[in-house]
């Protein structure tokens, strides 16, 4: 078993450049139902380690500190960034193929008018224990 972090960015794509707050209610409902079903599938298969959605970039803050003076805190949103992290799933799966399959499913979540959003999902393997020594 290997753990993967599936990161979902939100960025305007060719398919959908309208933020969810401006979707029709039935589109929003369909999207939420899809996410719940995906969560249920992962959980029933014993693959889900954790999943969270993140609050919007309007609430984000960036912190930098040189270790001497006082930390600098910048309030979001950050107009220079075209994409931001929307949420993640941590899964513990049998193979990389399965992680990619879950990512593909997540990428096709329904958006405006029920069309697949095609958001890019970043698949990152979690560091684990070393192999057996020789």
């Amino acid at each position: 078993m290997t753990k993967y972090l599936l990161l979902m960015n939100y960025e305007a794509t060719e398919v959908c450049s309208v933020p969810m707050t401006e979707w029709a209610p039935e589109d929003i409902k369909a999207h939420i139902a899809f996410q719940q079903a995906l969560g249920r599938e992962l959980s029933e298969r014993g693959e889900l380690v954790g999943a969270e959605g993140l609050s919007g970039p309007e609430l984000a803050k960036i912190v930098t500190f040189d270790g001497v003076t006082s930390p600098v805190v910048t309030d979001g949103p950050f107009p220079e960034s075209k994409e931001f992290l929307a949420g993640y799933w941590m899964v513990d799966v049998e193979s990389e193929e399965r992680a990619l399959e879950i990512a593909a499913k997540a990428s096709a979540a329904p958006g405006l008018g029920g069309k697949p959003l095609q958001q890019p999902i970043h698949v990152r393997e979690v560091m684990s224990a070393p192999s057996v020594d020789v």
Binding site: S43, R45, G46, L48, D92, E94, A129, S131, V132, V134
Partner: protein
């Protein structure tokens, strides 16, 4: 050993045998497990005050079967079904000594994915609590519970019978069992500092089950080989990590910290198994581990013998990772150039694998080419998925700069 620890060990040893009997009788994995859990709980409550019964196994079987029968009766009553299929509870002990083994064969059935087989084996045969298994694999308890329950469903729906494999199936099925035990052992052995306690438990469990299999099949040389391999590897555990969890390679380990008792037991097993003249991969790996463990200092290692054993293992398995280890052995016997030459043949089969870069870096360092070694240590560090290994490889590159 006396007191609660001994009682716990006894219950853990008896649990799979009792479960085997109950499954055999009623055919329902889930319900049987609940009944056995209740019997174990009753034992844990009663035995300390009333004393352990003369026949603890028979006692547990009686209690579990009674619970199971009660359950079926009440289910039947609820359904108002009068023709319930209910077999007579046994009078006295009806135990097949092989039931632990049958249970192991069922849990490691090839119809299950490896992950399911591991979870189910630990739960049903190992008798670890779901929470313990979950924390060992660093997943939430509900996730592990779900995995175990799916595995049981899978067994139910695929109709895997609760019996010893037939002669035709035997070799393949035993291989599945040994492989699952080996995977459990490795999960525990390769633990990093964070979750160490729970994961060490996995290695001990794998060794305990390995002993059980070897005990039931004393003439099977691969069952002996696997047990020997686990013991000889586990013997090095105390020297394998530094105080901050960092990896210490075999050549630099403090060998006085190796567990001599485990080494002696493992070496004895592997010598006896070799005498049976049916050599298999576990025996060869155990033999290699025994040669390493035999050397009191790294420079006393009998590399020519290790080179020969890796040659046999390579021919038997065709596994490129074995070829990689043979290249290291060749470098130790004939010099780094010989090892590097063997690596060239692996470029295609292990393309992009960090271990190839790590070994090449090591052999280049041996051959006095630090610049090339740095490049490959760095490449290996960026590709490994293990944090301690990444730290080790990064440090090696930094030390050569």
């Amino acid at each position: 050993m006396t007191g609660p620890a001994a009682a716990e060990d006894l219950l853990r040893e008896l649990a799979p045998q009792v479960l085997g009997v109950v499954i055999r009788r009623f055919g329902d994995f889930d319900a049987a497990e609940d009944a056995v859990q209740e019997a174990l709980l009753a034992a844990a409550l009663q035995w300390p005050s009333e004393g352990t019964p003369d026949n603890p196994r028979g006692w547990l079987i009686q209690v579990a079967i009674r619970r199971m029968t009660d359950q079926i009766r009440s289910d039947t009553a609820r359904r108002r079904r009068e023709d319930a299929v209910l077999q007579e509870p046994p009078s006295g002990e009806v135990l097949d000594r092989d039931d632990t083994l049958v249970l192991l064969f069922m849990c490691c059935h090839p119809a299950l994915s490896q992950t399911s087989a591991i979870a189910l084996t630990l739960r049903a045969v190992g008798g670890l609590a779901t929470a313990e298994i979950a924390s060992a694999f660093l997943v939430p308890e509900t996730t592990m519970a779900q995995r175990i329950s799916r595995a049981k469903q899978r067994i139910k729906s695929s109709g895997v019978p609760f019996r010893m494999p037939t002669a035709d199936e035997w070799a393949q099925r035993l291989r599945s069992v040994l492989h699952v035990l080996y995977l459990i052992f490795n999960e525990g052995y390769t633990s990093t500092a964070g979750a160490e306690l729970q994961r060490v438990e996995l290695s001990h469990e794998a060794i305990r089950l390995g002993r059980a299999v070897h005990g039931q099949l004393p003439d099977d040389p691969e069952a002996a080989g696997l047990l020997a391999l686990m013991l000889l590897t586990d013997a090095r555990r105390p020297a394998r990590n530094g105080p901050h969890g960092e990896l210490i390679p075999l050549a630099e380990q403090d060998r006085s910290r190796w567990d001599r008792t485990l080494i002696n037991e493992g070496s004895g097993l592997i010598m006896a198994a070799f005498a049976k003249e049916a050599i298999g991969p576990y025996q060869l790996q155990a033999a290699i581990a025994a040669v390493h463990d035999d050397a009191r200092h790294a420079d006393e290692t009998d590399w020519p013998q290790i080179l020969g054993l890796y040659g046999l293992l390579e021919r038997m398995t065709g596994n490129p990772m074995v070829s990689l280890n043979r290249a290291i052995a060749a470098a130790m016997v004939e010099g780094p150039a010989a090892g590097l030459k063997l690596l060239d043949d692996l470029d295609e089969r292990l393309a992009g694998h960090y271990r190839l870069d790590a070994v090449r870096a090591h052999l280049l360092e041996m051959s006095g080419d630090p610049q090339a070694a740095i490049k490959h240590y760095q490449a290996a560090a960026s590709r490994t998925t293990s944090l301690p290994e990444q730290q080790y490889l990064t440090m090696k590159a930094a030390q050569l700069r």
